[in-house]
């Protein structure tokens, strides 16, 4: 459950992060690929070397989807419906990877925001990313 204060904090954060979505996304993905080598198995069709175009494009896509969900957290299931279907029936990414990616997103945010990644923002962001991952996996079974 996100409090009003937490939603405000998230809104402010996403406003700041959306313009740099491709850098945050690429950073988070690269961190996940480095720390969880198994996660690379889903990307054999892309060039995921550091600095590659694919990494930036894909990273941007993911971060913007997460940012979009944050604009109306109460309607997360409706907003994510198409992505739910995609992940459940086509991509079939093991949902444990959502947790790995969320962790690397938090690291990327800490690196990017430094001291501004306060404890309360971290808490709100962690809660939001957990909710996002749970909704994303809803159609799996």
């Amino acid at each position: 459950m996100l409090s009003k204060k937490e939603k405000e904090l998230l809104e402010g954060a996403w406003e700041r992060l959306t313009p740099v979505a491709k850098y945050i996304g690429a950073d988070a993905l690269l961190r996940m690929f480095t720390t969880v080598p198994g996660s690379k198995t889903y990307f054999s069709h892309l060039d995921i070397r550091p600095g590659s175009d694919h990494l930036f494009t894909h990273g941007k896509k993911i971060v913007l989807a997460i940012a979009e969900g944050a604009q109306n957290i109460g309607r997360l299931t409706e907003t994510l419906a198409p992505l739910q279907t995609l992940h459940a029936y086509l991509l079939r990414i093991d949902p444990s990877n959502f947790k790995h990616f969320s962790h690397c997103m938090l690291i990327a945010l800490a690196v990017h925001m430094g001291e501004d990644f306060s404890e309360v923002l971290h808490a709100a962001m962690d809660k939001y990313l957990s909710a996002f991952a749970a909704v994303l996996a809803e159609k799996y079974r």
């Binding site: 720390t35 690291i107 690196v111 971290h122």
Partner: protein
């Protein structure tokens, strides 16, 4: 036995060498208590933990955070025998403190976030991987003697 490459050892000692235990320890513990409030259950005797500000200003929490990093130092100095180094501490956390070992990972993650915020982009993916490997060995050793 855990095998460490020279690169990993360098990354880990580099990070530990850059930490200010009296500052980063408290920051990591406070962050854990704020981000994962259920971990406060172990600190009932530590006074006011009502909100983030109270936690961050609590001197007992600060002292404990510092103590934790000094404890981590022991792993750094005994990297080839972390399991043995922490056997006693593991028993303490199990039999006396009754800490759920899943919580060790939560604190470890918060420490990693504190380090990432402090180091910025020099905390690159390879260094992150080495550091997380170190912490996972520590976490595993601390949970090892539970039964």
């Amino acid at each position: 036995m855990v095998v460490w490459t020279d690169q990993e050892r360098a990354a880990i000692s580099g990070i530990m060498g850059g930490l200010v235990y009296e500052d980063d320890g408290p920051k990591a513990l406070c962050r854990c208590l704020i981000v994962y409030p259920w971990t406060q259950r172990y600190f009932g005797a530590f006074g006011n933990l009502y909100n983030a500000e109270a936690i961050k200003n609590n001197p007992q929490i600060a002292a404990h955070g510092t103590k934790i990093l000094h404890g981590l130092d022991r792993a750094l100095k005994n990297m080839d025998s972390i399991k043995e180094t922490y056997a006693e501490l593991s028993i303490l956390h199990s039999e006396k403190l009754h800490v759920d070992p899943d919580n060790f990972k939560l604190l470890a993650d918060c420490l990693t976030i504190v380090i990432a915020a402090k180091m910025g982009s020099s905390f690159n993916p390879d260094i992150q991987a080495s550091w997380q490997k170190f912490l996972s060995v520590v976490v595993s050793a601390l949970g090892r003697q539970y039964h």
